[in-house]
Amino acid sequence: MIETIRIGHLLRETALSPYRNLVTRPTGAAVRTRIEDTLSRSDCLTALLDFSDIELLDFSCAEEIVAKLLLAQATGRPRFVVLRGLRDDQHDAIEQVLTHHRLAVAAMVAGSGPVLLGWVPPDARAAFDCVCRLGRACAHDLAAELDWPEPRASAALEALTLHRLVRPDGDLRYHLLVA
């Protein structure tokens, strides 16, 4: 199950105004708190954060919303987080703050497959693309697809699992938006 959260809607509720720009740390922190509240009441394993109503996302808000939400996964009930509706400049802001923290998140891009924003080892990035293409994969599948030794494929899948970029089920690793 997936919980879709419209960030633009939360922003307007939080700021009590018709803003479409996610700027300033206090605003980002307030929106993150609303996201966490929503997730705390949800049984869904995956949170799909929809940024399509947002005009501007500055670095402070990217840090407060996305980076701190992912950092909180380490302590609270862990969820899978996927982003949607981002424009290029918003990608850049999120990429920068996540790379700074050595975090990563999956983002859905209209007209193409999911992309990975932030930092993971290079093998994990290649493995992510492969799992997204296949929908699901075990180390054996990945090794065959990428022409890697199986331990290398296994390590790459493990890195993706640690970053919560794939959903594990036994030996298989699923793309996050595959039911």
Binding site: N21, E55, D58, S60, R87, Q96, V97
Partner: protein, 300 residues
């Protein structure tokens, strides 16, 4: 005794040190007269620099300074249209006839002189600029459309620095004009200034020890702009300036930050500014200028 501080005829980031030198020690002990009669032109940096001086004197409980307005009608009209006199009247005793500001500002002004006192003001500034930024940055300067958003991000982060670090309020203005001497092209300029504690005092408790005897205004600017440090312990801090640097690198832009007695700049190939200027005349707070040049025709 009244100390007279002459406003340079061409008042921008280059001539700012001449203006700062006029104040002597801070806070000034004498009554001040800021003499702008001979002013022929002032950049947004110059205009908000004057307001910052007035604000710093007011906050130091100094005597309200005098300001003589420019003789040139054209200059006066322009300063009125960008909102300078409206704010200056609260900080200075104005001498000379001040024209009424027209309802709409000049077309090359992206953002009038605007006070930044709280985070809510940052929202207002970003909202306001989004109406015209795309038309000017894309239409006139030839930047890609998505550069408009990155420009607004740079503006947002610069203004937030005032609220988070200065300990007082500040000013912002954004304008497009032609850099004739340095570049021969149009540029968009964000100028941000505050009368606050400056980079050195903001970072002192957390970073001075690491620098030892080197610690000072220049080292503090270096720590913030080059090393990306912040006074906050939160490891995610300091990324606003890092993000601005990335944007400037892509668009061959320049950032220069003056604080206390030093100025640090990331200098693109088209400019000949010093990367670090130290032992400058003291000026309170911090002054930031971000310059984005029009893209050359072949690059478009």
């Amino acid at each position: 005794m009244t100390r007279v501080i002459e406003v340079p005829a061409h008042f921008d980031d280059r001539s700012f040190d001449q203006f700062a030198a006029g104040f002597g020690a801070w806070p000034p002990g004498e009554k001040l007269l800021v003499d702008a009669r001979a002013a022929q032109w002032a950049s947004p940096y110059g205009l908000i620099g004057m307001l910052t001086a007035g604000q710093a004197i007011a906050e130091a409980k100094g005597e309200r300074p005098l300001l003589t307005v420019p003789v040139s009608d054209e200059v006066k009209r322009y300063w009125a249209r960008v909102g300078f006199f409206r704010h200056a009247a609260e900080l200075f005793e104005l001498h000379g006839r001040v024209p009424k500001a027209s309802a709409t500002g000049p077309s090359d002004v992206l953002l009038d002189v605007t006070p930044v006192r709280a985070m809510e003001d940052v929202h207002q500034v970003v909202e306001k600029i989004s109406e015209t930024a795309s038309r000017i940055l894309h239409g006139e300067l030839g930047l890609e459309r998505n550069a408009t958003m990155r420009f607004s991000m740079a503006l947002s982060e610069s203004c937030q620095n005032i609220v988070e670090h200065a300990g007082t309020s500040g000013w912002v203005a954004v304008q497009v004009y032609t850099f004739r001497r340095r570049l021969g092209r149009r540029v968009a300029v964000i100028a941000v200034s505050d009368a606050g504690i400056g980079f050195r005092r903001s970072l002192e408790s957390t970073h001075a020890k690491r620098f030892g005897e080197r610690w000072g205004d220049g080292a503090a600017l270096e720590a913030a702009l080059i090393q990306g440090v912040s006074r906050f312990r939160d490891p995610g801090r300091g990324q606003g300036l890092a993000g601005i640097k990335g944007f400037l690198d892509r668009w061959k832009g320049k950032i220069s930050i003056r604080s206390g007695t030093a100025r640090l700049a990331i200098v693109p190939a088209w400019d000949d500014d010093l990367p670090l200027a130290d032992h400058l005349p003291f000026f309170p707070g911090a002054q930031v200028q971000i310059t984005i040049p029009a893209q050359e025709a072949e690059a478009r």
